[in-house]
């Protein structure tokens, strides 16, 4: 660990979250020894495709994984300001959840309660965590609605969720999450359900609020375009593992893991003319039966015997930019770069 642990706001070490599958026939190793740090004021992106474990990672941080069927294995560590969240009693955990670490989800319609006004839902956290009176909390809710750019906040505070558009509901979710001025905001695919023009509004809003409130953001997304424009560092996940970490500019300039490389090449772009896209063959394997050795080897164009037999650790890929910006990749190519050249 070259990163200075004292500086990290949130430290995740060797997180393992497993699920018992429906008929008790197997164990899905959804998140398997995931480690990363989140520093104050930065945006860290966690990127990967469905089934890579990125959402389970984010749910594990606030212990929102349903148990059973899920469980976080002993030996996992999630440390927030020096306290292991996994060891906290429920009341202590509640004092952090929604207060110092807040979360917004992908689907704003299903995350809001349809029978309460948005004002009541925004104010709830302030009443519970900051012991504000109803009147004061309502005033704070109106202030928050204004902050997230909802027009006529004095009127809209009494709206029910169904009276709002998808973009407005996501703004309400953000207002709910930020009312207690959390130090960490976990945003799980916050714009995936929205149209592109609304997505641009919400991402711009998140950038502005982060700047104004100085919080750290953990941005979970499948969209490399969102990662490129809105994060400082990136963790790439595949098959329950972290496969690459780097600063955002470094990752896009020198993608090292063949999965990252393939993913970048597969993204259709508006600035390149019509052409054949690069596709990664096959699909993500099942979490109950990850492949042996490197979990990406069945889809990897460079794989050789060693990749089938032995899983690589996260290796130093060079090109880091000092602390926190270390570039690592879970790939044997780092030790034998000539094999990459040979394939090209």
């Amino acid at each position: 660990m070259t990163a200075t642990p004292a500086a990290a706001l949130l430290r995740v070490r060797d997180l393992k979250t497993y699920f018992v599958t429906e008929h008790g026939r197997g164990t899905a190793r959804a998140v398997d020894e995931v480690s990363f740090d989140l520093y104050p004021g930065e945006t860290l992106g966690i990127v990967g495709e469905s089934g890579c474990g990125k959402t389970v990672t984010s749910l594990s941080i606030l212990r929102l994984v349903p148990e059973p069927p899920g469980h976080i294995l002993p030996g996992s560590l999630i440390e927030f300001e020096g306290r292991n969240l996994l060891a906290l009693a429920p009341p202590e955990l509640r004092s952090i959840r929604g207060n110092q670490i807040a979360m917004i989800f992908q689907e704003p319609m299903t995350s809001l309660n349809p029978v309460f006004t948005v004002g009541d839902q925004i104010a709830e956290a302030a009443i519970i965590h900051q012991r504000l009176s109803r009147r004061a909390a309502r005033a704070r809710a109106i202030e928050m609605l204004k902050l997230v750019g909802i027009p006529d906040p004095e009127q809209r505070v009494d709206d029910y969720p169904h009276q709002m558009s998808g973009g407005m509901r996501q703004r309400v979710m953000i207002a709910m999450a930020l009312i207690c001025h959390p130090k960490v905001l976990i945003a799980d695919e916050p714009t995936t359900a929205l149209d592109v023009t609304i997505q641009a509004q919400i991402l711009e809003l998140l950038d502005r609020l982060q700047h104004e409130l100085g919080m750290a953001v953990l941005l979970i997304t499948h969209d490399l375009g969102v990662v490129a424009g809105h994060t400082d560092r990136v963790v790439v996940m595949y098959a329950g593992r972290v496969v690459e970490t780097a600063s955002t500019t470094e990752l896009f300039e020198h993608p090292t893991h063949p999965y990252t490389e393939g993913l970048l090449a597969a993204v259709p772009r508006v600035d390149t003319p019509r052409s054949r896209l690069h596709a990664i063959p096959g699909q993500v394997p099942a979490a109950t039966a990850w492949p042996t050795g490197c979990r990406f080897h069945p889809r990897c164009p460079y794989a050789w015997e060693k990749c089938v037999a032995q899983e690589p650790p996260l290796l130093d890929a060079g090109g880091g930019e000092g602390e926190g910006g270390r570039h690592t990749a879970r790939c044997w190519l780092v030790t034998e770069p000539e094999r990459r050249q040979a394939k090209r």
Binding site: G167, Q199, G229, T249, P268, R276
Partner: protein, 335 residues
Amino acid sequence: MTAPPAPPPVAAPLVDVRDLVKHYAAERRWFGLGRPRPPVRAVDGVSFTIPSGRTLGLVGESGSGKTTVGRTMLRLQEATGGRVLFEGRDVFALDSRALRALRRRMQIVFQDPYSSLNPRMTVQETLREPLEIHGLAGTVAALLDEVGLDAVFAKRYPHELSGGQRQRVGIARALSVEPQFIVCDEPVSALDVSVQAQVLNLLADLQARRRLTYLFIAHDLAVVRHIADDVAVMYLGKIVERAPAAEIYALPRHPYTRALLSAVPEPDPKAKKNRIVLSGDVPSPAMPPPGCPFHPRCPHPLKSARCRTEVPPLREVPAGSGHLAACHYAEQPMK
């Protein structure tokens, strides 16, 4: 792969849509006793043609009416007005027998491969049904091979397949009746990036091999760029811009197209682009704004009183270019 040869000029387009309209009657308030409310103008006078063997990308955000265009063309929903000509025949004038025959030539691939396949039928049963109904010589094995699925998948049920595999089955089902024209309604938007690329490449290969004509409906301008020859952009039930793909991406003449393009997140941290973030939401298609439907959100610096009162027609700018835009200021597009 060699580049596909430029399609030869054709006299008549395969598909000719003229002034297509679809209104949904709004329910009356007070259990049907109240005053009638204005209808939802889902599609409000849409016209385009698609030459044989080409792909038109139809782009828009939710509620723009793009899906309704595709469905009314195949008469999965009845249109309120307008005409659709397929090989010169009026699709809306056909009786049910003629329509069934025509459905062999026009097919659709749906967005959601999870809900568009019968969960109680194996892949083999799903694919064999249309072959038997239409008395075709094709085989399930050949269809699976064509869409890149191993023969073992014939015995599987939809829930045993991944999203990408299901979408391949959806494509195989559309191909089974040997159509000339396929409406692809957001065929890759539910798929992961790596699988999305596989399916887009497959659609391009099939088009080259079978000389298919596509209407490719999508919300993602980047995806459309990789498949379409021409692009039409919809907003509130109307086409606001239509042009050859290379044209529209290089020089969008409608400010909405310009804003849509700038909103696409580029996978490049160094891309410093002139991002236009539109304010506000899309208005209700039951009460579109007067004048230009885009005027309340329009960021164009020349926006004037004229935009609030006068509906801009879809016109060719410059004349003879084949580039159509519905903006009073299309000659001075936003940078």
